[in-house]
Symmetry: C2
Subunit: 195 residues, 2 copies
């Protein structure tokens, strides 16, 4: 070996992904060069290819691990039994998780088109799984008479779009705290599906 066994590689690998995530989110996938990423990491461009086979795969892995983190975190969430509790948990979770990972969220909404067809489908499937989580809550609530939504699929899309929109305007230390934002959105969502 060389350079402290499993040391530089275990440091540089994550640094590459962090730099790529930040730069892709800021400037867009196509506008960021491998050389820029390398410079951010403090390494020459060629060295990046020890950590990714190519640029598209680097993007794909960022998106994939983001979506998997999202699903894993949601599964681990305390959810309650009643439809209204479950919906509230989803709303608060989505806002909280997305604000914590604004760059990855931005990426996975904007840069899907830079993936090849197979990679695209993988991310799309993960996204659909997440959307189905919300739709299931809405359908169960509808059956139980707790909600009155004309179309659960559409309502799921509408709610997710509304919640994800927080990322476009929320600024830490601004007029509203995260907790307050969660409250207000939950209020609007609750009413929007109410009977």
């Amino acid at each position: 070996m060389a350079r402290k066994t499993g040391s530089h590689a275990e440091i540089t690998g994550p640094k590459v992904r962090e730099a790529a995530l930040r730069l892709f989110a800021r400037h867009g996938f196509a506008a960021v060069s491998m050389r820029q990423i390398a410079a951010e990491v403090g390494v020459q461009a060629g060295a990046l290819y020890l950590y990714t086979p190519d640029k598209e795969t680097l993007l794909f892995e960022l998106l994939q691990s983001h979506m998997e983190d999202l699903l894993t975190a949601w599964e681990a969430e305390q959810k309650g039994d009643m439809p209204e509790e479950r919906l509230e948990a989803f709303v608060r979770f989505h806002i909280r998780f997305n604000l914590d990972r604004a760059e990855a969220v931005f990426l996975s909404y904007m840069e899907l088109r830079n993936l090849g067809p197979e990679n695209f489908r993988v991310i799309e499937d993960l996204r659909k799984r997440y959307e189905t989580e919300l739709e299931t809550i809405l359908r169960d609530g509808q059956s139980a008479g707790a909600f009155a939504v004309p179309d659960t699929k559409l309502a799921a899309m509408a709610i997710i779009a509304m919640l994800t929109g927080v990322n476009t305007w929320f600024r830490e230390g601004g007029r509203l705290s995260r907790a307050r934002v969660e409250e207000i959105y939950w209020d609007m969502v609750r009413k929007s599906v109410s009977a």
Copy 2:
């Protein structure tokens, strides 16, 4: 002159903008080359510079004219007097207009970061003017006791995000008609701001 006075120019100019809009929306600003746009128009790359000083300005003018069309169309809309009527008009208008111009909408949400600071500010101001239109409706409705929104600014952002989200999933000829989609979204929005 040459080539039928004011003929080719009046044809090629719009064709350039149409091709640029379609390609930018499909592949992203940075990923589309001037040569691709030229090929779509049926002309050499150099000829594009008769119609735009540079690539960024081409993007800027697409975004600017889209936002101005949006504001103009909204001003021309029948709006009613009561807060609830005005809100309904906004919801239906936004969905209808955005579905009709999906590519331009996509562009103006995704490619703002490719503008220089001055151009960016121009588009941001136009967008803010549109958001303020909705916020005014909500504030008036709140004052009149017709709505109960904890924060009109936030509610405006939430509603616009929700409505714009239609563009990500709606497909012509799909399960739901435009009219039905308008109905359902109006139902959700109405309830979400209800007292």
